[in-house]
């Protein structure tokens, strides 16, 4: 069964949330990442473009959720990440976790979103009202280019 997926278009969360229902589950914790109009203290974000390396991304996403099942006493967990052009306020990522108790649901939900943001090969390009644009993280890295070798 698939626990992690990409969507190229807007989608309805309800049927995905419904898959997390279970008679033993008393707790559901979720996280949604929404496109906001500012980043790193800079206002004027118009829209974002998300690009993913999907084949590897799905594998890494599934590994993260398997880790969450190993670490926390949870019932079900899913994550969906959007790709493509997203307007301000649009859902970029959703993590949903059900569990018997809320401690595990919260901890696993947090674990999954943190790891997804750090490990799944997804890139985000910001487009600003002033016409500027840039790949998030990459531009900051470039600023420190002299300090670090490109290969670890």
């Amino acid at each position: 069964m698939s626990h992690f997926g990409f969507k190229r278009e807007r989608f309805d969360l309800a049927p995905h949330q419904a898959l997390l229902a279970d008679p033993v589950a008393g707790a559901y914790a979720s996280f949604e990442g929404w496109v906001r109009n500012h980043n790193d203290g800079r206002a004027g974000v118009l829209y974002l473009e998300y690009e993913g390396y999907e084949q590897l991304g799905v594998k890494e996403g599934e590994r993260i959720i398997a880790e969450a099942f190993a670490r926390f006493d949870i019932t079900k967990a899913h994550c969906i990440h959007r790709l493509g052009k997203l307007e301000i306020g649009e859902l970029a990522v959703w993590v949903g976790v059900s569990a018997a108790h809320r401690d595990a649901a919260f901890a696993a939900c947090r674990y999954i979103i943190d790891e997804v943001k750090h490990r799944v090969p997804i890139w985000k390009k910001e487009h600003y009202a002033d016409g500027d644009s840039g790949w998030v993280n990459c531009e900051a890295c470039a600023a420190h280019a002299a300090d670090t070798p490109p290969l670890k």
């Binding site: 690009e51 594998k59 990440h81 799944v120 985000k124 990459c138 470039a142 490109p150 290969l151």
Partner: protein
């Protein structure tokens, strides 16, 4: 010489101007391949790149084999 395919994403795709290319290379490892391509394209400095071969993360010392599909992975920014 091995025949391989390289796919580019995000800032590297824009820099190279293409999402993928087929190559013949004498590079022994994926690290050597990066250096060869860096000489050709002068990649932007991106801090710690990762690399994947055939849709799995791997070390920079991984030997290149005929038919490999290689992806250099800039710092990610999901969520």
């Amino acid at each position: 010489m091995v025949q391989i395919r390289v796919e580019y994403f995000a800032i590297l795709r824009e820099h190279v101007g293409s999402a993928h290319e087929a190559l013949s290379t004498s590079a022994a490892t994926v690290g050597d391949l990066y250096e060869e391509l860096d000489r050709r394209y002068a990649f932007p400095a991106l801090g710690r790149l990762k690399v994947a071969v055939n849709d799995e993360f791997c070390d920079w010392s991984t030997p290149l084999q005929d038919g490999d599909m290689v992806v250099f992975i800039p710092p990610v920014a999901g969520g």
